[in-house]
Symmetry: C2
Subunit: 192 residues, 2 copies
């Protein structure tokens, strides 16, 4: 079942609904770092938001959709942040560092989103594409004019990989930042 939120892109949803969805988002975020994504239930989120489960389900098709939506929000929240640094290496590193920091700051969300994005849910699929696009944009902007497509792709893949590894608990999100610095440098070496 396809649900309301971000369903019709760019179309803000009206007054009452906006409030309800807002309350659901907050409740979701709180619940998430209180009990973690495993224990979180749409019903518990609904309860915390003072709303019935049925209502929650009109906004979010699934737990995974909620996670994806929360992640997307935290991503756009940070959209204004411009890559810092003189050369491409530094700029790309500033992007990965920034993302790693934000993930480290909300570990529960980070842990939730990786599996969530793999869901076959239609609403998740839509967000997945947007999120992927956003990553791509950020790297492209950091690289500057005429980026080598293979390099750009290598960066996106390495970053996704890091996300995956961290999601699996092989890497902590703070490690991730440091490791990616080296990886970025290695990838960009010889690509002035």
């Amino acid at each position: 079942m396809s649900s309301y939120v971000s369903n019709a892109p760019r179309q803000e949803l009206g007054g009452r609904r906006a409030e309800t969805v807002e309350r659901l988002f907050s409740a979701g975020a709180e619940e998430l770092d209180e009990v973690g994504h495993e224990a979180l239930t749409i019903r518990s989120v609904a309860g915390r938001a003072g709303v019935s489960p049925a209502t929650a389900y009109t906004y979010f098709a699934s737990k995974n959709h909620l996670f994806a939506e929360l992640f997307w929000r935290s991503l756009v929240e940070d959209a204004d942040h411009e890559p810092q640094g003189a050369d491409a290496v530094a700029r790309v590193q500033s992007v990965t560092r920034r993302m790693a920091e934000r993930l480290a700051a909300s570990p529960a969300l980070a842990a939730a989103v990786t599996p969530a994005l793999l869901s076959s849910d239609a609403d998740v699929a839509r967000l997945r594409l947007r999120i992927g696009g956003e990553f791509l944009d950020r790297f492209a902007r950091a690289l500057g004019e005429q980026p080598d497509p293979a390099v750009l792709e290598a960066l996106v893949l390495a970053f996704s990989g890091a996300l995956l590894q961290a999601g699996m608990g092989v890497l902590t999100y703070t490690d991730m930042g440091e490791r990616l610095d080296a990886v970025v440098a290695a990838i960009l070496e010889g690509h002035a």
Copy 2:
């Protein structure tokens, strides 16, 4: 609940059990590409293997554990394959190509394993580490002596990333092979 299979590493399990588990593996693999990982049920696999669900659960802690175990098997099945090629680039590419081919050959398993490996299940966690180790080994071997650790890590991350993207359906597994060729070349450029 921790289950039998690969629980005590290197310890083959005895006659009767070995047969049962074997039947479960085959049934699992068949079921997997007949109905896909979403629809697959431990109970249905048990049924197909001519075994009760309770029995199946003594071998596999969960659906995810089954997928991880199947993937691990398909990986070791291919362990003897040596990297081909004169230089590091070619050798690494032969590794990624090979993996991509195998994944393309069993798309259902590929689609199943990515989410499965993210499970917090203890049995899955164990396999996850082994699998990660295996990837690392293969790349290290392909790179030859004294590989630059950052390069090695970049490769592993890019590969995991590709796996993730393909798992999300952004990439087909056949695309994956080709794209990785370019990415590998880009990463290795300037690292003789």
